[in-house]
Symmetry: C2
Subunit: 391 residues, 2 copies
């Protein structure tokens, strides 16, 4: 299958490219290197050693004799998107090329505006280019479980039958996101539902949980690492917790820590995305996957990280709750459905504890780099203080 990965340089994009190549697909990709640049803006960096795209591709060719056609550019530029799609004419497009950090979107009005508009424009450019050039191809788009918020009822996979005043309909589940970033994904979801209605495009909208981990089997085989961010803006919860444990810094759940979210390992994320690509939707189908393995509270993750770090690395594993910089319920019901990917063949590869052991060992390898970044791990970006115009 000819697959185009937008955002191929990212945490998910790169290991997905390796997986798809390993499975015999013809892979091309694009990236604007937005994340590499923005991570440096907050004085942070990937602690895993990531080489340039040029070097990644060169080494991949040396190892596997496989080529990836790469184009540098930004999907919020319609000319770039049209040219790219005309050139590649992919069977499937994986759209990972969005600003992906909730804290970044809360840094201020400028970042809020950029996140909300550029994420939206990229997706809009894509659906127009698809209907104009490759109307039968499949768009697999990364959304987030955070689109749903934390309602007091079960969360279905996208749509549900609703009964109100003795009448019924099958409708999209009402969303309530918790940051401008998460809302940008809700807006995308809404725009995608409409694009599907307009032009019968095949779309998979992936509501992904929080991803953790340093490796996939192809990263192990090639030593071609993907990025691993540990700072408060770009790092996700469990990745930060493991880094704190290795550095013998306190593990810092935000607030009470009973916030419960869906999580999955990088390995499992890549498996799920691959299933979504290899089992595409029908002509005219818009489908939603809730893509996570299990849900955990932040406290549960902090505790398992702490005990594992004590056991295998002889660390202190201290847990220290910090004031919650976000606006979110700290105790709530949480029960999202997630059966569609299992029905298509998804099975968890490694249990949480097993993956945490691997992560701790990997982070230990890059401890020097993590050590230099101690100062950027604890939260500084406070949701309600998001500054307006600087003047």
């Amino acid at each position: 299958m000819k697959i185009l990965i937008l955002g191929i340089d990212g945490y998910i994009g790169w290991p997905l490219a390796l997986r798809l190549i390993a499975r015999g697909h013809e892979v091309s990709g694009a990236d604007s290197f937005f994340t590499r640049e923005r991570v440096r803006e907050v004085n942070s960096d990937s602690i895993t050693p990531i080489v340039s795209m040029e070097d990644r591709l060169q080494k991949l060719y040396q190892l596997w004799k496989k080529k990836i056609e790469f184009h540098k550019g930004d999907v919020s530029d319609p000319e770039f998107v049209y040219d790219l799609i005309k050139k590649i004419k992919p069977d499937a497009i994986v759209h990972l090329a969005e600003q992906r950090s909730a804290p970044y979107s809360m840094l201020g009005l400028k970042q809020a505006t950029d996140t909300l508009t550029k994420n939206m424009i990229g997706t809009l450019n894509l659906v127009y280019a698809m209907k104009d050039i490759i109307p039968e191809s499949h768009l697999l788009k990364l959304g987030t479980m955070g689109e749903y918020g934390t309602p007091n009822i079960d969360i279905p996979e996208g749509f549900f039958e609703i009964e109100y005043k003795d009448r019924k309909d099958f409708l999209p589940f009402p969303k309530f996101a918790g940051s401008w970033y998460h809302w940008s994904k809700v807006h995308d979801t809404n725009n995608l539902m409409f694009a599907n209605k307009l032009w019968n495009l095949r779309i998979t909208d992936v509501m992904q949980g929080v991803v953790y981990g340093t490796r996939t089997k192809e990263i192990e085989e090639t030593d071609l690492y993907t990025r691993f961010d540990i700072d408060e803006v770009w790092g996700t919860a469990l990745n930060r917790f493991c880094t704190q444990a290795v550095l013998d810094e306190p593990i810092t759940p935000y607030g009470k820590g009973f916030q419960r979210r869906g999580f999955l390992s990088l390995e499992d994320s890549i498996s799920c995305l691959t299933i979504g690509l290899e089992k595409p939707p029908e002509h005219g189908e818009y489908r939603v996957f809730n893509q996570f393995d299990e849900h955990y509270s932040v406290n549960e993750l902090a505790e398992i990280t702490s005990s594992t770090a004590r056991d295998i690395l002889n660390k202190r594993g201290k847990i220290e709750h910090v004031e919650n910089p976000r606006i979110e319920k700290e105790e709530h019901y949480y029960n999202p459905e997630h059966s569609k990917l299992k029905a298509l063949g998804y099975e968890r590869k490694r249990a949480l504890k097993e993956e945490i052991i691997l992560m701790l060992k990997d982070i230990e390898k890059f401890k020097g780099k993590a050590d230099n970044l101690r100062g950027v791990i604890k939260p500084k970006t406070v949701w309600k203080n998001s500054p307006g115009l600087d003047k």
Copy 2:
């Protein structure tokens, strides 16, 4: 009360300014004249004679000895918004300054992008400026009944109690809009709910039905007309039907014509908005009004327009269904709740037929201008053909 009207030059903005002045409020306004310019782009124009803002304000001063402070600018420019709000420090802001045409948003990728992003950015600038400068003021924001789409269940006013798998929550009603314009309003609604959660802003989100009519009592008193658009891009259904009847052109419902929508007269729209302003929400309250008087099918409106035009103007009143350029259900259930404004004192001023008589007579006065615009009334903008990048 000190009230700032953004979009004061528009169909709703101008008569609202007159009403608020007449009721003793201190009114200021801003506009970019976007609609005046864009209407000319489709070779159309208001058939009512609208003078420049300068002349409007001058004549208003001559007649009533009242001043309106006016600033030209675009709310998608954060500097303009911050400067304006610092200068005026209003008790309430009425936000009407958005691209307001569904067909315009479907003209192509460029217009889709502009509508989705600029509408969103304007609202975002406003909520940031409010929380920074006037956190206790009230934002009254124009949305549309079109945000809800046409579900097979009753439509509540914004939120509803939902039961799913034996659990309950009170959640936003799931939206399903029918054009990029309507989606831009859904995105605004979502962003406003979040801004309210972040900063406890007082917000009234008005889901307005389709407005029709040429006059309010202040327009009658001053002869200071508001704009009246009759073309397929900028004119609304009943306004177009009445114009077609006066020109003895066929009245053209789209498709089967059983599409049912909420409608209200311009006079009633202005009354509702005034109630919303004079009875503001509490600190921290986000409230939704479904603002319309009655719902009618497009066929019902075509028929009452036809019979009235036959009776009072001796016109033919021919009805000719045309292919539906939109993507919408042509037969559907429709029962939106609309009790909140009534509870606050809203009462209809004129019945539909009475208002149609006035409109037909007014349009007859400007028949010469309408006659020149015959060519732009019938639909040309076809939703599913919305073109992508021109190249």
